[in-house]
């Protein structure tokens, strides 16, 4: 009894001591705080923080997008056509025979078909019906190097199209697409055309879709070949067998020239803009700052709360005007001397990047677009990264996914009234001493 009592008492006491949670006393009394630091916002003009702006193109090819583009004199200049190659046709199918039993039929007869193209209803420029034409190409082309003028443009093999724009083609059919009727358009195929595209060993056997209506630009999300098939087990029946596409690419003309005075991001092949960034070593104003500390005062990394380059959007060339959301990314260039193939560091904007609506480069051009670079800027101030390496000074502005669209984003460059500037938010105070 006595022993248990003592043990219980000591146990309770120990438990009480251990379980007593530590709470730091918190007072709202300002008199015990060090002198209030000052937080202020600074705008650094382009000349004082950036240099060596360079717009570099050529990243990726249209085939990587997995989409097609059609245009005819869009923006007064742009023509674009889509090329498609299909996979092998099916050699057997499960069909119900004349007795009603489902069996595998290995003897199929393709009596015709249709090519169904699925169109992007958001990315298109047309509001009314447009006319599209399907043709069969006559020349071999390489999906990764094909352009408006070159069918093949690899290191050991260059061949131009007999006619610029993937021509000539054998006309197959035409079709009208009205956005109000749906998001797909069908081209009818006869048995001869179906038979021609069945030979997948011949790289010249493919389809070319072009837009016949002028002044529009259309994006093709995908395409499928549907074969009208007569099975031997039930010759009175026609079934449709799908054939997936093997290659899809697009060619366009003219190719945009590098901007002489601007900043460009996106497109295909994609454009990147690189620039060198320098952080101010000391601050000499404004008055509010100098009232707290002796100016000029050295800028320390710990005092930098926020750094962002503010770009001003501008209208892109009409032919390459974005019609859908544009995703922007910013990454450090780890080795500037190896540009354009320099490796890039991690994104400063995260997985989502900076998403901008198409209107930012259209009706609402001139908007401020902030690209935060706080940690990049802090590393520049300290002179080393958090793992002790010399920090990169060069920044690349690029498309979030690259390439992703024929359209690209444009911003005002240095030398203009709307040149980019560096926005800094800094907090500066006296050092904290003993009481």
């Amino acid at each position: 009894m006595r022993r248990n009592f003592i043990r219980s008492l000591l146990g309770l006491a120990a438990l009480g001591v251990v379980a007593c949670e530590e709470q730091s006393p918190t007072s709202l009394d300002e008199s015990v705080l060090p002198q209030e630091p000052i937080t202020l916002e600074l705008s650094i003009p382009w000349e004082d923080f950036a240099s060596n702006l360079e717009v570099i193109g050529g990243f990726g090819v249209p085939a990587e997008i997995g989409r097609g583009v059609l245009a005819k004199s869009f923006g007064g200049t742009l023509d674009a056509r889509t090329l498609l190659r299909f996979a092998a046709y099916p050699t057997e199918a499960s069909v119900r025979d004349t007795t009603g039993t489902t069996r595998t039929d290995g003897s199929l007869t393709f009596i015709g078909g249709r090519l169904v193209a699925y169109l992007d209803t958001i990315g298109n420029t047309n509001e009314g019906p447009v006319l599209l034409a399907l043709g069969a190409t006559q020349n071999e082309w390489d999906s990764r190097s094909v352009t408006w003028t070159a069918a093949v443009d690899t290191i050991n093999h260059q061949r131009s199209w007999p006619e610029a724009g993937a021509g000539p083609v054998a006309p197959v059919s035409t079709a009208e697409w009205d956005p109000e009727s749906g998001d797909s358009v069908s081209f009818e195929l006869d048995s001869a055309q179906v038979a021609e595209w069945a030979d997948i060993s011949d790289p010249s056997k493919s389809a070319r879709i072009e837009l016949l209506t002028e002044g529009e630009r259309i994006e093709i999300r995908g395409a499928v070949l549907q074969l009208s098939t007569r099975p031997s087990l039930n010759p009175d029946t026609t079934i449709f067998l799908p054939v997936l596409r093997r290659d899809i690419s697009f060619i366009y003309n003219p190719s945009p020239e590098p901007p002489p005075d601007g900043i460009r991001v996106g497109g295909v092949p994609a454009w990147r803009t690189v620039l060198d960034v320098h952080m101010p070593e000391q601050l000499d104003g404004p008055e509010a700052l100098c009232a707290v500390v002796t100016c000029p005062v050295a800028l320390h990394a710990s005092e930098l709360n926020y750094a962002a380059i503010v770009f001003r959007s501008r209208r892109t060339e009409e032919a390459f005007q974005p019609t859908d959301t544009v995703g922007i990314d910013a990454r450090p260039v780890l080795s500037r001397e190896t540009l354009p193939k320099a490796p890039l560091g991690s994104s400063m904007l995260g997985l989502a990047g900076r998403l901008l609506g198409p209107e930012v480069f259209g009706d609402q051009a001139g908007q401020d677009i902030e690209i935060p670079i706080t940690l990049f800027a802090r590393d520049l101030i300290t002179g080393e990264t958090d793992v002790g390496f010399e920090p990169p000074e060069t920044l690349a502005l690029l498309s979030l996914r690259e390439p992703v669209s024929i359209a690209f984003a444009s911003f005002h460059g240095p030398g203009s009234e709307k040149a980019p500037f560096l926005r800094l938010i800094v907090t500066v105070g006296r050092s904290v001493g003993l009481p």
């Binding site: 003592i6 730091s24 209030e36 709360n305 926005r423 907090t427 050092s431 904290v432 003993l434």
Partner: protein
Amino acid sequence: MKSLLASMRALLLITAVALGAVPVGAQSLYNAAGLGLPVASIDGRGRALGNLGIGLWGHSLLPTDPGAAGLLIIPSAVLVAQPSWVDFQRGADDAGSFQGNRFPLIGIGYPLLSGMFTASFGSFLDQRFDSQRDVTVDLVGGPADATDLFEQDGAVSHVSFGYSRRLSEQLGVGFNVGRYAGSVTRVLTRDFGVAIATEDLERYEVGGRWSYSGASVTGGFAADLGSVVRIAGSATWSSSLNATGSEETEGGDQTFDLPLQYRVGTSVALAPGLLVTASAVRADWTGLADDLSTSSNVGSTNGFGVGVELSRMSLLGISTPLRFGYRNTSLPFSFGSAGAMEKALSGGFGFVLVETNGITLAGADFAVERGERSDSTLLENFWRVTASLRVSGF
């Protein structure tokens, strides 16, 4: 040999507990005033009796009473834990509560060379507190809210080693040499939270860390006048307390002049099983005022405590002395124009867990205090529990 092993085990246990007990919890907003809140290294018995660390009859191993250690005859050790719960009120709007735990004393005494060698580790000044203020920063997009958070974390602790011995049957003298240690971290952070329009603002942080060093010497006596009265006195001289910033610390180093501290105390056995005690302390901290950069009010630490012990009480056959006390001390640092005071009523009891031939080999003491600390601007009401475990003869 067996006794030596047992001694080693006890020593290791005490050392392990001491190392684990180094963090000192915050127990008062007065930690924010001046150099902080002084913490007395007193055990549960002393707390229950309102004692100020000197003049207690019987077993006592307190660094402020080196003379009493000279009257001990067997090895002893003491471990003290002290949780507390505090409500505070400052003005009309600033009120709240907090709680904390600390280990104000770990001590050991071992007889050698005809005397008693002592070692102790304890708190000296508590300095931990947080504070905050809401601010508005002007940005191009308009004013934005931010919060300044200030965190001070640390303490001045005290390690001492001493030697005490009995000069006669009823007179013990002793001294200890101590070193001030510990450190304090002071960090100001401006947090922009989520209210600000601009995303991804990094926090602003500035501060430093200082390590404390300094030395002290305490000398004292304890005399038993017959078997009725004990009187004791001690004085502590301290060198300057040096605060040295770490390499990354921008704030400068500082030196603080610590005061000479005097203590006297007595215990009187009025009747068998009835003991009354009284003690007093004095230290003038005003010389330190010039060393402070803040506007704290600096005064003297004057205080007294009285108590009564009924030592013949028992519970379930266990000797359970009952104790009551009252203490009243002034604090060296305060916020208002007037000095701050701490007053507390206390009660408690002890247990003799193991006893041989009238010598307590293991005992525990508990004290509960209800008190207040106040100056002209801040009022704190607190409950404070002190639990101490003492072992002897290991």
